[in-house]
Symmetry: none
DNA sequence: AATGAATGAGCCTTCATTCAT
DNA sequence: AATGAATGAAGGCTCATTCAT
């Protein structure tokens, strides 16, 4: 064993397990402060000192809960994603309740798109910054991205509807990326597009068109 | 006191027009060093000091050719885009030579996709960093981005083919973003996809499917 | 990219109100180090790094207490002025206690001159540098300068003494500048003059001569 | 001056004796460019590179004529002073032509003040910067300053007029500094004062008052 | 004589992180 | 648990000066 180096590190992944109620709340507050800064002041302003200052806790306390800045960000991204997916999943519940055979492909796609688009409301600036950062660090981890979730949904959709052949992995990926890439681009360039009917219709045509085209390899 | 380091500006946009042969070469070398760093070490490593160090020139020399770090990056991005678009445009020449009436939509799409996909070779990491940066600063300027070029091409394509109605702006944007977003995602997560036939086929289905679907608003 | 180092400002005027004992002491130490450098090494040597080095604190600590170099200098100047004026004001107390009608113009002038001259002791070099800097930035704000204080005093003096007509603003300014300019020059060229009787006598003649002459526009 | 740079300076005092006509002109042009920068862009902008750029000569050429930046400045100050004094001296010629016994002290003072005040026209900004720099480096060399010239004149004046006793050195110094200090202050804070009659009158009262008071040691 | 590309010490400033209390 | 003073590596950038051509 090369254990020469004293590693205080056996506490690293989560600096401290927030068992106490107060601790948990502190952690949450730090967390929300970070998100608020991202929202209101942009990514460059997201410094550990600023988080401390704005959260009301000392910088020391911040480091009691997060090993380093990266961990704060990682958690932020994870949380954000979790929340969005939770929202989508919840709404998909209602959809699958409705899962009679008569439900058409078109209707399903429309419902899903509406849910996905609806999931991008609210704190745009924070979200944008988060997306960028996720993007920056996401090399090779595409399938962990939100797009992957959409892919899964679309794939599930491709069973038992008028579109028989299940999507291949690449097809699901392409479709998912096409949709989420478009949404991301709209988010970055012109967020109001997300609420426009024409935009939704185009996404609809994109999705349905793809699903139909692949059956008809003309 | 900033007293010592002041303005004197008015020579800013191009710090010094390299008329001398040596100067031109130096500028080029600095430039390529920056690109190399981006490629091999990633964006955070792209510091002016690193550029100086790796290029073999002093930091002062770097600043003789670029007013500030931002200018280096801006040039890098512009250059990159220019080269890619030049490549695409050049290849499109060949395509339009061939522009008989009998050319089918499908063939055209395929040709264009091949060109677009072909335009992404080489220095992946640099490209990725560049893309991110372009992305980061592109808020609201989407139509100036590479995607816009693709949009234009697709739009041109929608005239005089079996697909009569020209694409609306939003449609062109969505289709272009869908394609380039997918390519970007592939680039980031799994560059080898760019050469796979299945990937190309999926993109083809996406594009043609969309173009057909929008005519048939079923 | 300045991306990394951004605003976050809104804490600027006083970077951190030193509530803790240690903090207060540190701030004071940094402050005094700056003054010492000004004294012993001159203004050009007053760099933030030198302050850090000589104070024994890290550069980071210096910036914990002063937002930027300018703030250090501004504080230095303000402090200097405050101290000198406080000293003058305090001593003027004693003078005005004595305010019998019989007190002659001559005696008053002499008393004031003595106070003013006495206020320039101690750290000459620092003072000189400070004066220069104050001078450099004082354009158009002459009446806020120490000379203005003297002007006020002289003006007050011109009431209720043998010299009836109150000084006009320009007259007060000229007299004050004449005195303080002379003192400044002496300070710069030959500080020992400040303690010489002949120098004081000449200043006395200058002041009283002026006050008398203006009544007698011969 | 950053004394860091190794000075092979044994060629320093005058880098090259401008014997040729062209050389002399080049030197003059560099010179005037420096003055222009000082005037129009302020002292911080006065860098050797800026001088080169604006003069049209290369930086190398500038260093052919001046060993270092300090030399440029020193020459600038010397030149400035020389010119002002020359102007004053020239005008004093006319005055002394007129030197009949009947000429009164008052008239003489007035004439001199007018000349002195007249010498401060034109390039205020440059002058101010120059003054500051002269000030900064003038420690202990007061008697070389313009004030000294004025002192000499005043002293000459004190002979053969109604004011018999010649001024002592200290008296001359005080009077000269009083006048030139006031002028300097006016220059820095409110240049238009220099042309005001009230200002001139106050200076007159200051001077004549002093000269009379010292005879009458009341 | 003149050029101007190149140099590099050094300036100001930021911010993630540590540690004594 | 929490504090916050202190740290210092690192970044962007300037400018007086040199030297090969």
């Amino acid at each position: 064993m090369k254990d020469t180096h004293k590693s205080k590190s056996n506490q690293s992944p989560a600096r401290r397990e927030p068992t106490q109620a107060r601790a948990r709340r502190t952690r949450q507050l730090i967390f929300e402060t970070a998100l608020r800064i991202l929202d209101q002041e942009g990514e460059p302003a997201l410094t550990t000192n600023r988080i401390a200052e704005l959260s009301g806790f000392s910088i020391g306390t911040v480091y009691q809960y997060f090993a380093n800045k990266h961990e704060i960000l990682a958690n932020l991204i994870a949380e954000e994603r979790r929340m969005r997916l939770a929202r989508i999943a919840a709404e998909l519940q209602g959809l699958s309740q409705d899962e009679r055979t008569t439900v058409q492909l078109a209707e399903r796609v429309r419902a899903i798109l509406r849910i996905v688009l609806g999931a991008f409301g609210g704190r745009h600036k924070a979200r944008r910054a988060l997306l960028e950062r996720a993007l920056r660090n996401s090399a090779g981890r595409l399938m962990n991205e939100p797009a992957a979730e959409i892919a899964r949904m679309l794939r599930a959709l491709s069973y038992g509807s008028e579109n028989q052949t299940p999507l291949t992995e690449i097809e699901a990926l392409v479709l998912a990326e096409a949709v989420s890439g478009t949404v991301r681009a709209a988010l970055l360039s012109n967020p109001s597009l997300l609420k426009s009917a024409a935009f939704e219709q185009a996404l609809f045509d994109l999705t349905v068109g793809f699903l139909r085209q692949r059956r008809t390899p003309a």
